[in-house]
Subunit: 212 residues, 2 copies
């Protein structure tokens, strides 16, 4: 069965929920099923990086122009560098019936949903808030102040979880990866994503009706 288009999939979740790890394992387990969206950024290219592979490297001027021309699905600025998802690259892939995954923050996810109402929004979280705190503490890289701040942000972010489509509780990495894969694959069979197959069947059946 040929679904109409590839899917735009957004994976986000609380800081410390493990979305980066899920993503990495998902792409390793199913390299032919998914394409990672490549972001545009204003930060400088590092040794070993290649334009169009890790990032599309842009000057500040070029980046601002992209925003102005509505060429970015979402964007955000961290430590003075801007990062955004170029619309054209995502559209190219889904028109070739390829699924594209975006690993982005919650605010960005909602921006993408506005641009692509058919985008699939996945939210990942640990089994409990205690576990979320434990994971942030366990990293050993954050001060108690930063951890407290992260948890406060998670609390605010939890208010928009309901705008997501699916919830993945990351208690076992392997299970979470399998769930993400199954959810995406099942979504391909949504009636709303298969208009061409449905219209073709309607047309074929009409011929039968006339001939009887």
């Amino acid at each position: 069965m040929m679904h109409d288009k590839g899917l735009v999939i957004v994976l986000s979740g609380f800081s410390g929920a493990g979305k980066g790890t899920i993503m990495k394992h998902l792409l390793e387990a199913h390299p032919n099923d998914y394409n990672l969206s490549i972001s545009a950024t204003t930060r400088g290219m590092r040794a070993g990086e290649k334009d169009g592979r890790e990032y599309f490297f842009k000057t500040r001027e070029e980046f601002d122009k992209m925003i102005e021309n509505n060429e970015l699905l979402e964007y955000a600025t961290f430590n003075g560098n801007s990062y955004g998802t170029p619309r054209a690259y995502v559209e190219k892939l889904i028109n070739e019936r390829k699924d594209v995954i975006l690993e982005i923050e919650i605010q960005g996810a909602l921006q993408v949903k506005k641009m692509f109402p058919d985008a699939l929004l996945l939210f990942t979280m640990p089994p409990s808030a205690d576990e979320l705190k434990n994971r942030l503490v366990g990293r050993g890289t954050e001060t108690p102040d930063v951890i407290a701040q992260r948890l406060a942000i998670s609390c605010r972010e939890s208010e928009i979880m309901d705008q997501y489509d699916y919830l993945i509780i990351n208690d076992s990495l392997q299970r979470a990866v399998d769930q993400v894969h199954n959810i995406i694959q099942a979504e391909h069979f949504r009636v709303s994503r298969n208009s061409s197959a449905i219209n073709e069947m309607k047309k074929q059946l009409k011929v039968f009706e006339r001939s009887n």
Copy 2:
């Protein structure tokens, strides 16, 4: 993760699409995952049948009373016998977080969706209208007139396919069975079906926010 409730799943499709066979194999492959809804009927009990196993056997009067009291999710009459899906049995199962599958005709499916807006509607069809005709002919049990009539009914029914949630193209039985299973399992992770887990997380995070 505990989803809020079991799912009501409706499997229907064109006559000859193979939904009975898919259902049988699905239940054999996953006996602990799914429960078949038991219909009420006015037809007489046959040798070897047991009330509450094959059917809930009812008199015409009892059946009409069930309709009157809104105790049936859907019902239809074939050859003078009435068949319907008792609401109480389905509600009991989903409240125990068990998934219930109903294999019913298209009109019945839409009746169920009205009663249970959260019901999952699966539509199965062969890869083409020609293949649908071939399967009906291949059975060798129907006259050309009856086959023509079935195809005309399928043509009318195809107009309401868009009201279903998922489309399963039954070109390979094993693949169709796997797809139905994956679709149902993925649906358990819908945000809208996991309000308790989400509300619990929100509550837990609020405690963290206050303490910082």
